[in-house]
Symmetry: C2
Subunit: 249 residues, 2 copies
């Protein structure tokens, strides 16, 4: 209905592009079984290497993505023991009992490997069908991003036919918001790489910002050159704005 803007789609597309994937489609479907089943089957029949599905994993009556996927790939839904442990420990830590709606978050298509959710309650899962890896994640952006970065990205990097290289810049004594617009402008100028800033507050109260530039190439050398070129361009822009920085992690 258009109430929510799909920021998950572009975030994932940016990530996937940076680690060497070509994004084939971003598709939004109504929350109905027929629509989800149709699109999952179409992705499988196109033979995509990776299908990422977000949303509909929570405890409420209208969170049915796991069972829709099970139907699309002809698997039974089972209570996944590992996922059950994750979910019940979450509620235990909040001092809450397991109930059928909460348990529902641990039901997955048979053969799934659960993905821990460090932010919310619903685990994600990964399941392979022929040559396609289906990755299913919650729709809440904060949960989806954390789970993708902690558990999915590394595996997809390994699978990619491309080599991926990170270059790093380190900036000290400057607070993140004062360089955000410079970094953002450079990230937009260079869609061929993924740029991410990692701010830390040091023990002495000072600031350290690490800038990660991730690039993919057909060889390690090509990826490195791409990442380095952008890292040096960012460094130049920062120095022109009077901000000192050094390479290295």
């Amino acid at each position: 209905m258009g109430v929510v803007v799909n920021t998950n789609g572009s975030w994932l597309a940016r990530k996937l592009t940076s680690i060497g994937y070509r994004v084939d489609r971003i598709i939004v479907v109504p929350d109905s079984k027929n629509d989800v089943v149709e699109e999952v089957r179409r992705a499988l029949s196109r033979g995509v290497r990776v299908l990422i599905v977000t949303g509909g994993l929570g405890p409420t009556y209208d969170d049915n993505t796991a069972s829709f996927i099970a139907e699309a790939i002809n698997r039974r839904m089972i209570l996944n023991a590992e996922a059950y442990k994750m979910v019940s420990e979450k509620y235990k830590a909040m001092g809450q009992e397991m109930t059928p709606p909460r348990e529902k978050q641990a039901w997955m298509p048979e053969g799934s490997i659960p993905i821990p959710n460090p932010v919310g309650t619903a685990p994600g899962f990964v399941i392979e069908v022929d040559r396609t890896i289906i990755v299913c994640l919650p729709g809440v952006p904060r949960e989806m991003k954390k789970m993708f970065e902690d558990y999915v990205e590394k595996r997809l990097r390994e699978l990619s036919a491309m080599r991926v290289v990170d270059e790093w810049l380190v900036i000290e004594g400057v607070e993140e918001s004062s360089i955000a617009s410079i970094i953002e402008a450079k990230a937009k100028e260079h869609p061929e790489v993924y740029v991410k800033t990692h701010p830390t507050v040091l023990e002495n109260g000072g600031f350290r910002i690490r800038v990660q530039v991730t690039a993919a190439g057909r060889s390690e050398e090509e990826a490195k050159q791409k990442a380095l070129k952008v890292a040096l361009d960012i460094r130049k822009a920062l120095e022109e704005a009077g901000v000192k920085c050094r390479t290295g992690q």
Copy 2:
């Protein structure tokens, strides 16, 4: 590649939902002929009533949406005389000559009806294929929205099997930003209607804000009830915040 977040998709979905359509898919494809042709043909074979395509109508070498659509529906590309007039008048007003890249914006699938672009240079177009109406608009949000509201929405309202009714509130003496969060919260609470504010500065320097609530229903009566319910709810929230308002346009 995920560099741009697709805000056009959700804006159009919100609009279409409010005038009685069910949005079947929002699909983002790479800017390649095969991908665009495949998705246009799939929409036609699903028999959708309306297909809205945005982006790729400009003068540059990679703006090829019109010819991709022509290929998908097996029509020739022709120089549309009415569109040529629109485009050449735009450049004339800017004191610029027509060149082949500028003229390209007036080439459309044979049988298209051009849609004027009051904001930019590239006209959109409408073309009917069997029972599907294809509406093609620029990707720049400001151009797309203006053209949809001025030239497309009225026609789609007439086509819709649903009846659509507007209810209005008028607020005077208050500036828009001071009530924006109240209106926005209510709009989110009621995705079944479309809420839009129209601010005006009066001749005496005062402010007038008109709030439009658009709802669709199977009958005029049902639509009116839906719109009125939300209008009264917004009015209640405004009055609780100390803002006076009245019904009526």
